[in-house]
């Protein structure tokens, strides 16, 4: 199944974690991720290694697997539960010259009905006394979409992302960030298994299904602001806001507050709250009045009017392991997030025997756990 929505691939690329004119430290992370919500359970490993040479060049490599057991609401109402696996590899290079860092990366994600290749380039420069860092990012994606049980169907997605990021040191204790990104996709942008429903008095349930039909292009723009404060007793507080809008008329606001509190040099605690609200895509509907009601049809809850609330906690324990002497320091980390998804115009079709369009609005909670080990060498 399409574990990877077209754009979600871009998220898998490692962020440009560039610190002003110094390459990040050598590091290896091994993570176990677990997601359980809405009838879907996904877990698996993730590995990330980075190493620099002569303080000028750096290489990083990543490996990631999703093992999916899905009985999601869409699957349960229109198909049958399934299990699947998605594997992703990534590699990246960085070159630092003076105050400029050049980076290139490539990643491939593969599952039995979706293959995605992504390449990206970025330039990052420090200026104005190293108080300002400006980055330009360009990313290109090529996806191949197929359908299980259908040897004829094959389509593709072409994706381009342009982004600019500015980081500004405001005071000795405050750093600000501003990002803008524009994402354009062309091709088969929906899910070949998903259906929409329309009122059908002849059907047993009162509604029937037909395949979803999406536009073949989508352009989205996102603008975000953030600020991170150093609190005098040694802690950090961060606020983020992002505004997103696209050609499908989806409008999303994301706001996040987080707090980091270290204890000595051993423990670090994090807590954060994230809120997201979204207006539905223009052609989205939970229930169309009749078959072929309009040119474009969508009943993907990802495009619905919805909100999500997240409350998350994290604990890190830092230590120096005598057994792993080649590591300068290590840490064990546990992060837990609870996310609530509330839909304003997506209904729970597991409830039958009621007039179509009066089923309860769907809502579900998800537990997300990350447990990982980090080692610096």
């Amino acid at each position: 199944m399409q574990l990877i929505r077209a754009i979600a691939v871009a998220a898998l690329l490692l962020p440009a974690v560039v610190q002003a004119a110094v390459l990040p430290d050598d590091r290896a992370d091994l993570l176990y991720h677990y997601y359980d919500g809405g009838g879907v359970t996904i877990d698996g490993p993730s590995l990330l290694v980075r190493k620099k040479f002569a303080e000028k060049y750096a290489v990083n490599a990543s490996y990631y697997v999703d093992m999916v057991s899905s009985a999601s609401i869409d699957v349960v109402t229109t198909a049958s539960p399934y299990e699947e696996e998605r594997t992703q590899y990534g590699v990246g290079f960085e070159y630092l010259r003076g105050k400029v860092t050049y980076a290139a990366s490539f990643s491939n994600s593969n599952e039995n009905d979706y293959n995605a290749d992504t390449a990206s380039l970025s330039i990052s420069q420090d200026m104005f006394g190293d108080l300002t860092t400006v980055s330009l990012i360009f990313s290109r994606g090529w996806d191949d979409v197929t359908r299980r049980g259908d040897s004829i169907f094959e389509d593709s997605v072409d994706r381009r992302i342009y982004g600019v990021d500015v980081s500004q040191i405001a005071t000795k204790n405050l750093v600000l960030g501003l990002s803008f990104e524009t994402i354009t996709e062309e091709g088969f942008l929906n899910n070949p298994y998903r259906q929409v429903r329309y009122v059908d008095p002849d059907a047993a349930l009162g509604y029937s299904y037909q395949a979803e039909v999406y536009p073949r292009t989508r352009t989205g723009n996102a603008l975000s602001l953030r600020g991170r404060w150093y609190l005098p007793y040694r802690a950090a507080f961060q606020g983020d806001y992002r505004f997103y809008t696209d050609t499908w008329d989806i409008r999303g606001h994301t706001a996040e507050l987080s707090y980091t509190h270290p204890l000595d040099d051993t423990w670090t605690f994090d807590v954060h709250y994230r809120f997201y609200t979204q207006d539905a895509a223009e052609f989205y509907s939970d229930l169309y009045p009749r078959q072929d009601f309009q040119n474009f049809l969508a009943r993907d809850k990802e495009l619905a009017s919805m909100q999500s609330h997240t409350l998350g906690f994290g604990v890190a324990y830092e230590f120096k392991s005598p057994k792993l002497s080649f590591l300068n320091r290590s840490s064990l980390n546990l992060r837990y997030d609870r996310i609530r998804f509330d839909y304003d115009d997506f209904r729970d079709l597991r409830v039958t025997g009621v007039p179509p369009g009066t089923e309860p609005l769907y809502t579900f909670d998800a537990d997300v756990i990350r447990f990982f080990f980090s080692g610096w060498f």
Binding site: I7, A8, A10, A11, L13, L14, P15, V17, V18, Q19, A20, A21, V22, D29, L31, H33, S46, L48, E55, S62, S124, D126, G129, D130, L131, T132, T133, S135, V166, S167, Q168, I169, N173, V175, G177, L178, S179, E181, T182, I183, G220, N221, L223, S224, R228, R234, A235, R242, Y244, D246, T254, T260, Y276, Q278, A281, E302, M306, S308, R370, F372
Partner: protein
């Protein structure tokens, strides 16, 4: 051109040349707190890229996650 216009143009030029020599108001040796690991935008990229994927595949919005800059400003 009047004398006032020439003077205004010179003023603008002077101001503009001053801009490129703007002294950083946070000196390199004052970046102690900013260089603290807890002040990094993204302390654990392996975890944050995973969470980004969790949200991007369930929400309509994506992009502009940021991540560069800040830090010690060394070299």
């Amino acid at each position: 051109m009047s004398a006032a216009r020439i003077a205004a143009a010179l003023l603008l030029l002077a101001a503009a040349s001053g801009c490129s020599r703007v002294e950083p108001w946070v000196k390199p040796y004052e970046r102690e707190n900013l260089a603290d690991p807890i002040m990094a935008w993204d302390r654990d990229p392996i975890s944050s890229s995973y969470m980004r994927h969790v949200y991007d595949s369930r929400e309509g919005a994506r992009g502009a996650n940021g991540g560069a800059g800040g830090g010690c400003g060394c070299n």
